[in-house]
Symmetry: C2
Subunit: 221 residues, 2 copies
């Protein structure tokens, strides 16, 4: 049995999955501490992800120490991680993450990076190996599926890559953690997605005290 192709993101109530488009390496650079756009990025991103920071799973996966909250949010965050046999990401997410992730990158699976860069596989401690794919999103997904076997393939990001896979009808289902936050501007989850080509069905909806975790199946019309 083949696994599913999915993505899982946190979305603001007004539909954004990320603040304005500031490269991650700028946000995390020394200059980022005084750049107003980078500051806003960090404030908004922190509001959006506030539900995840206190979780036991989050602390554990990023080696931030013992403890943390258990409960619905923690169970769902952990389940998302555990179902993922392989991740796929775009060049921008990789480039930013390469600078921002700890040495033990938080995937612990093969990761296929859609990029024009030709590069040998890059193995990190803890089981993450990045493979660089130069012939497009479908090829990257084929390789990811092959590698995942009967586990699921997660389209990890960034925003543009998720939109491309979704719009191409290559996503089987997706999860949105809906946070009670308004962004006003930023990168919308469903921008560049043709709304008339996809039919969504609500598969599950689970609320915690802070947010609601929604999962939808996608079928092409």
């Amino acid at each position: 049995m083949a696994g599913k192709v999915f993505f899982s993101v946190t979305m603001s109530l007004d539909g954004f999955m990320a603040p304005d488009d500031v490269p991650l390496d700028v946000v995390f650079s020394p200059e980022g501490r005084t750049d107003p756009r980078a500051q806003r990025w960090m404030t908004k991103w922190s509001e959006l992800q506030a539900w995840a920071f206190p979780l036991r799973w989050f602390r554990e996966n990023l080696h931030l120490g013992e403890g943390g909250e258990e409960g619905v949010d923690n169970d769902i965050a952990r389940a998302t991680y555990e179902r993922t046999g392989v991740s796929v990401m775009g060049k921008r997410m990789f480039d930013g993450g390469e600078r921002a992730w700890p040495e033990e990158a938080p995937f612990h699976t093969p990761v296929f990076v859609v990029t024009h860069e030709r590069r040998d596989p890059w193995e990190r401690p803890g089981g993450t190996t990045f493979h660089f794919v130069n012939d497009g999103i479908e090829s990257a997904l084929d390789q990811a599926r092959e590698s995942a076997g009967d586990r699921d393939v997660r389209i990890a990001g960034g925003g543009e890559t998720i939109q491309e896979y979704l719009d191409a009808g290559l996503v089987d289902e997706f999860s949105v953690t809906l946070a009670p936050v308004l962004f006003g501007t930023g990168i919308r989850l469903f921008d560049r997605v043709d709304p008339d080509r996809l039919t969504l069905t609500q598969l599950s909806s689970t609320a915690s005290a802070r947010v609601t975790h929604l999962t939808y199946t996608v079928t092409k019309r």
Copy 2:
């Protein structure tokens, strides 16, 4: 005890509460049957509201006949109606509705219409009386509160009116029925709302088989 000021709308997963801005009287005119924009309006609106049409309460309130579904969706639709002591609406919603509602308009309470039109109160069979307010949204809300006593005031619509009340910090809480539909274009619920002035807190989140009913409290920062 004073009632609350709230609104309740169905929102597409990509953040829209209405399709493109086609006046209701065009949608429901004979020409509307062949106008592509009016057609799209009707298709999208029907997808968005699909969860409500089969409900027992919906059929009952619009006198569409016996029967209909019961359950979570029906309970919530009915509760939204029953908590409403008074409605407030904008001129556009009234103008469109005046042509589209049945003679027994589906409010059965006082309705305050924010408009420049000077007009005597208009009483409809079934308990709906429209009062026309010419001095702005705050005045209309004051009159609505006064009239509602300890019951709640619903900002009924349209979109622009909801945005104005929300942005002015005059809404205590709101409900969004999140439908698994993508619009791509249309009127966004949170357009024209300054995201940095409002803090939202998830008050409740209840899923049915089709949609999720979310309620948030609003506080001004």
